[in-house]
Symmetry: C2
Subunit: 406 residues, 2 copies
């Protein structure tokens, strides 16, 4: 069950973006599996994609199209990743983009395709092509929540957030949605996430803003250490809010925008972990006093990926020895155990190379009984801090993934 | 349940090595938890230890003593790792070595201590000290099988193997035992394993022989990607067989000895995986056509550690897309998906960037129904091959590790 996460009741429209969802025969369940997002002329689009060496066909195409043209449509299907499908998968995705372009009156390369779901199956193109015109006809301002539903796969809860940003009395809208629950260990990118805002901002700054936010949010979460073939995060700015264009990163509004986008991305990224496959706990792993960011992240991810730490958290067992062992195998040169301190929540469990003398099992059990767990490791060798968010490893993770296709 | 692994009916004695087991109050179950191995004067001892930065007290002491003196005793306790115990843990281990030395009439630094079990608890030294004299009194040639039992923790099956090696008509004995089931991802070392032989061989060659064998055996297995704080593998050669001393790696007998030790180590390493926590499948991951050994191992371990691949194997699901995604995130530069071929058993599942056109789900299901699964990935960019052995990820892995201490 998701940890501290409830479905949004509503999501705000963003001037210049229209959405629609439809059923295109991809999912067996019969629920909407096709999402279209229409972007007004003049909008800017920034995106980051998976670094998995085997990108899915839609990722390859979206990256290529985005470099050529400003997109007018995002087309997302759930239930099939169109990954590991070779040349046929590329033809399928191209054909779908062309059909949407013909229907809506734009060029194929102004349509960015996104797919998520099972790897290695061909898309059901006939039913998808047939569904496109009806879906285009339904485009409207107020369909963000329907889109948050339609992009889900093993997600239990739709993930979306709206924020208002005040720029000198002018109200800017930001709405973001995301999907993801398993195969979560984004690498310089994220699971599927789409964020729209009506702010006016230069394209290069928008990309800088997105990369900054992703590095602190989607690139700091893990459910199972698996990097998807289809991860993508897209940020669209339509410029319809009427603010003076933000054209420099020294512009006083840029820092405000960056902060708002960071907050939306962190919320969405944490929502993915809270809805992680089989999750019963939301875990924040913070590493302090590291020499470098790489070393802080290496320690944090080693803990966050450790099956033994994750099963102990599922079992509500304050088994700090497993945390210690994970820190020790994280590959940090010359790490001195005597300098390391480990806290579980507000309880110091390890110092001076062993269990804190004041620690009692009862103190550990109290922390582990919470649904939100914090693990803090101070390495005692520098002043860099970084944080990773993860979930526990439960029976249900195994059940979901042993049974996914059957 | 262990996969294709049954307990040995007997293990051969090794001239010059005596063993005894006793109950020293470490385990709650009341079964023998203390093992002593007495090594005759003149024997050579080689060892490799964990590279976890946080070594347990016994590992620090064993490494230090071994550099100073030829050991006369190995002292092993199961049920408590004496790791993360700080200075107190060092004093405990020193005191136990001193007591055994006093009882048996040798120096403390001729006793190498080994511990395995829960991390972060102090050893029950009083009951251990009390048990040492009785255990010394029981030393005998024929207790290898009892020792294989007494060193177990979450292991279900005791692991041991005896081999005879013929050197120009002279019969050499080799017997090895090992323990390990979880926290298995040895790094330049292994879980606890003790191998004895009566061959005469120079100490430096014995160390070379052990490192060669470990690199191909214990360093190629993983259950859960976790490197223990206490891993150690020890090879003792007593020289009592009467063979002319093997004093050079060009000696004709050295290659025969190396081959025999390799075989024993591979068997024991595979036995640990077959008895991996919650294992229902034994999986061989082979990577061919890599440019370097590092890249072959990176791909093999990424597959072998993938929770999604491991749960699919548990679910008997030929979900080759997860294997493909794991290869793609293994960090190999410029990997071309079109050059990669993947086989499940004898069935080609991926070629030319997608599913093999001749592949059918029935073919995959047939392979996945076996208890021994082979995954073979050809990278199409070199001629290096390497192999890693692993198990699947089942409900029982979660159960064992969520409940371990409670």
């Amino acid at each position: 069950m998701p940890v501290g996460l409830i479905a949004p009741e509503s999501l705000d429209p963003v001037k210049g973006i229209q959405l629609a969802t439809g059923f295109a025969g991809v999912r067996k369940s019969g629920t909407d599996d096709l999402t279209l997002m229409a972007l007004c002329e003049g909008s800017s689009t920034a995106a980051v994609f998976t670094r998995n060496a085997f990108c899915a066909a839609p990722v390859l195409i979206a990256r290529q199209y985005l470099a050529q043209q400003s997109p007018r449509f995002l087309m997302i299907n759930a239930g099939n990743a169109n990954a590991g499908t070779g040349d046929a998968g590329m033809r399928d995705a191209h054909g779908l983009c062309q059909h949407l372009a013909d229907t809506a009156g734009c060029e194929a390369r102004q349509v960015l395709p996104f797919s998520t779901g099972v790897i290695g199956e061909r898309l059901p193109c006939d039913s998808m092509l047939a569904a496109i015109p009806d879906t285009v006809a339904k485009l409207g301002d107020d369909n963000w929540l329907a889109a948050a539903h339609a992009i889900m796969t093993t997600d239990i809860v739709p993930k979306g957030l709206s924020r208002k940003l005040d720029l000198d009395g002018l109200s800017i809208s930001i709405t973001g949605i995301a999907k993801g629950s398993g195969m979560i260990r984004p690498d310089m990118a994220t699971m599927l996430s789409f964020i729209g805002t009506d702010v006016a901002v230069s394209p290069a700054l928008l990309q800088q803003c997105l990369e900054h936010a992703v590095e602190r949010s989607f690139n700091r979460i893990t459910v199972d250490g698996e990097t998807s073939t289809n991860d993508a995060c897209v940020l669209v700015a339509t410029g319809k809010a009427g603010n003076p264009n933000i054209d420099s990163d020294t512009h006083p509004h840029f820092a405000l925008l960056q902060q708002a986008i960071d907050e939306v991305c962190v919320w969405l990224a944490q929502a993915i972990v809270r809805d992680g496959e089989g999750a019963t706990r939301f875990v924040t792993v913070t590493v302090d006093e590291a020499r470098t960011r790489d070393e802080a992240c290496a320690v944090a991810y080693t803990i966050a990926h450790s099956p033994l730490v994750k099963t102990a958290i599922f079992g509500q067992d304050p088994n700090w020895g497993r945390i210690l062992a994970a820190v020790g195998r994280a590959g940090v040169d010359d790490l001195q155990i005597d300098d390391v301190k480990i806290h579980l929540g507000d309880v110091c469990i390890v110092r001076d190379g062993g269990r804190d003398p004041d620690y009692t099992e009862e103190m550990g059990l109290r922390v582990m009984a919470e649904s939100e767990i914090s693990i803090r490791v101070a390495l005692g060798r520098g002043n860099v801090t970084d944080t990773v968010w993860t979930s526990d490893l439960s029976y249900d993770y195994v059940k979901i993934n042993a049974d996914y296709r059957t």
